[in-house]
Symmetry: C2
Subunit: 227 residues, 2 copies
């Protein structure tokens, strides 16, 4: 077994939840590559492979180590060109960056505001202390302040998907008739929300929920098995 993916988990290693790591899991499955996922606690990540990266995902493929989900996708595309493409060419590669920016600007803060206390509850004690300190510093307020606003964030959540919902009237995936890495970029955000809170907080008839369901079904339902 040559490929190892270091990802992120809380107290239970069977429930990896990082959006960026899920992008990589789906990219590896898309390429049909065998790999072993090695979920790590937040405070264990700096020790992985001799401290190569402070953040996951970290991919080890033989002697090559790559971190950052987009860089890993680029690496996989260049290294395994005979496997199904993640980008569909150079234009797909650069425009996937726009989708990445969409996920980061439109979805990630919304998921954070909904899930932050759920995430905290999933962690072991050492990680809980790290998570509280780093997130409270980054967000400028106590984690508990997000409890009161959670319902309003959930109510506002479906609207964040207006662009994707509009697109799905035309095509089944961002990649057209079948998914590309761009699909996994946005999938990651919803899988993060699903694993940490138990729901994607979208109405079941929403085309975005249908798209997400189709992605959960891919690759023997790999992503659906984690909940």
């Amino acid at each position: 077994m040559s490929i190892i993916l270091y990802s992120l988990c809380g107290a239970e290693t069977a429930r990896p939840f990082s959006p960026h790591c899920w992008k990589t899991v789906m990219a590896l499955r898309h390429k049909g590559l065998d790999f072993v996922e090695s979920p790590q606690a937040f405070t264990e990540i700096p020790k992985v492979e001799g401290g190569v990266s402070k953040i996951v995902p970290i991919l080890k493929d033989g002697d090559t180590i790559v971190s950052d989900s987009f860089d890993i996708a680029l690496y996989l595309e260049a290294t395994y060109p005979d496997r199904p493409s993640l980008f569909g060419g150079e234009g797909g590669m650069v425009l996937s960056r726009f989708v990445e920016s969409y996920g980061l600007t439109m979805l990630h803060m919304a998921v954070t505001k909904i899930a932050i206390n759920d995430i905290h509850a999933m962690l072991g004690p050492v990680d809980q202390a790290y998570f509280r300190e780093s997130r409270e510093q980054r967000l400028g307020k106590p984690l508990e302040d997000f409890i009161a606003t959670r319902d309003a964030e959930i109510a506002a959540f479906p609207e964040k998907f207006a662009t994707l919902r509009h697109l799905l009237k035309r095509q089944a995936y961002l990649g057209g008739e079948s998914p590309l890495f761009a699909d996994y970029i946005l999938f990651g955000a919803l899988q993060w929300l699903r694993v940490t809170t138990g729901s994607i907080h979208l109405p079941s008839g929403d085309p975005v929920a249908g798209w997400f369901d189709r992605l959960l079904d891919l690759y023997d339902g790999h992503a659906r098995k984690v909940a």
Copy 2:
């Protein structure tokens, strides 16, 4: 001269303003194709080329007629494959649809709310009557109701570009180091706003304003000459 582009104008034919037609103008320039632009008033469009389409752009290339800006881009890419690519391959083609959905869901209603009375003022009397009736029906209120909310819409406008602004920290264009059709899709919305209101309503230091400026400079400053 074989290519004719039918576009949209008000009382002055020298000031075509449709966002979708601007996408096509830039796509034709990108391909380095000679063309004649034939701007039409709203109520003249149904008479173009024997009534082939109710909406512009309409492209006539020899015996071929194509309408819809995206379909025209696909036609140009297929018909002139040796010219610079508008999509950078199949993946770029499908992901440009996501950018199109982004423009339609995030930007077009915002521009409409800011510019609607400016557009009305640009039109001849017959078109003014058509425009008022069709837009008031579509939007559910008198054009004059948008006057009171215009300043608030302008204040909220820069935030609509959060995704593009985030991307532009990484790369000069959606297309990477040089523009693709995806750039022209979002350019069209801002050019529509610029021609109809005289401003793009973004701070001059905004990276999005810088990107728009670079696009205005392209092709001998073609788009900048219309104001």
